[in-house]
Symmetry: C2
Subunit: 196 residues, 2 copies
DNA sequence: GTTTTTATTGATTGATGGCTCAATTAAAAA
DNA sequence: TTTTTAATTGAGCCATCAATCAATAAAAAC
């Protein structure tokens, strides 16, 4: 069956399978066989293309990170005013594509795994830095520096917190409600600053 | 060596060992031997007292939950005004005892495991409900119901979010800074409500 | 002093799962 | 046509662990 040029297709399929497997199980404790099975190939092939399991997990996380980043860049381009740019960053995090149970479960699982794995921790730091600077790109024009920093910090924590709560899917905040909570916070904060 | 009455001592020691093991590794992926070793006993004894590993993990989580709850009750008793009661709940979550790397790592790990284990999920729901009602016990006197609900929701998410960020210990928010962020949010929100 | 009960462990079992490897297929290159 | 090379896998090795069990030791009960 070997058609040539399978590698990129298989890699993508395996990464997708990894996300959906993690999403369903809710843990990184998924076997290579499970993942490979979902991708329609053997476990041996997964090892062939990715080496160790950890490499596949890293690749998966890098993929999630790059998707989020791409969405962010697109959204930021559309936002003309500083205020709009802040909202853009937030809305990306709660978009259909990002705020899905699978994706969220994967993020959460990676957060935990990052404590063991320096490589994953490095990736998460990249994410945190990017989020912060994306938020600041709008906020620094709206608030004095130290206040802007604080609001960015709080917003970032809120995003993480709402993700976690969504993962437990107690029926709690859906995407729009979650985003609305953050917008509400921002509005209050900005109005307060203007009033002095 | 068998002195009688060892059971409660061993159970406590094993639970403590579980927390510290999880805290150090950052995962629930700790072996029974590792835990037992830290408690100064054999793996067999851990099984003797707790049965399966999952039972030990559940007991550990129940312990964390009960400690947090006890601290909360104490703090709530001291708060006389509604406003003070809200602050009390927050400060407990960021107290020396609760906001420690080990404890936080354990919480985070349990959040993830809860996706697999219905028993753990049930326990986390108890926690979420308690936190919510503890917050509401102060907030409902300060804000109209729906607004109070929203603020409680946001505060809870903020706590979770700050916990997660602490777990990655990028040097980010220490306990006091974290608590201050939430207090700042509350102040703005309450002032806004009074003015608005 | 014998028996029962509690505390405790080393050794073992059984299962799981990551990873390797030799073997197969068929496309592409020579 | 022959040879090389990419794609692919089943079978199996090996390590890790959770869980069990039979055996030991000493306190308590009788």
């Amino acid at each position: 069956m070997p058609k040539i040029g399978m590698e990129p297709l298989r890699r993508k399929a395996l990464i997708d399978a990894t996300i959906s497997a993690i999403g369903e199980r809710g843990t990184l404790d998924v076997t290579m066989s499970e993942i490979a099975g979902r991708a329609g190939v053997s476990a041996a092939l997964a090892h062939h293309y990715f080496g160790a399991k950890e490499d596949l997990l890293q690749a998966t996380m890098r993929y999630l990170l790059s998707e989020l980043n791409a969405d962010c860049r697109t959204a930021l381009k559309l936002g003309t005013t500083p205020r709009a740019r802040v909202s853009a960053v937030i809305s990306v995090n709660f978009s259909e594509k990002q705020f899905r149970p699978e994706t969220i479960a994967a993020w959460l699982a990676f957060y935990v795994e990052a404590q063991k794995s320096p490589a994953l921790r490095r990736l998460l730091k990249v994410y945190a830095r990017r989020l912060h600077s994306n938020l600041m790109s709008g906020l620094s024009a709206l608030l004095p520096r130290s206040e802007a920093e604080r609001v960015a910090e709080t917003t970032a924590a809120l995003i993480d917190g709402l993700y976690i709560r969504r993962a437990l899917k107690d029926g709690v905040p859906d995407a729009t409600t979650a985003a609305a909570l953050i917008e509400d916070y921002l509005e209050t904060k900005l109005a307060d600053a203007k009033a002095g």
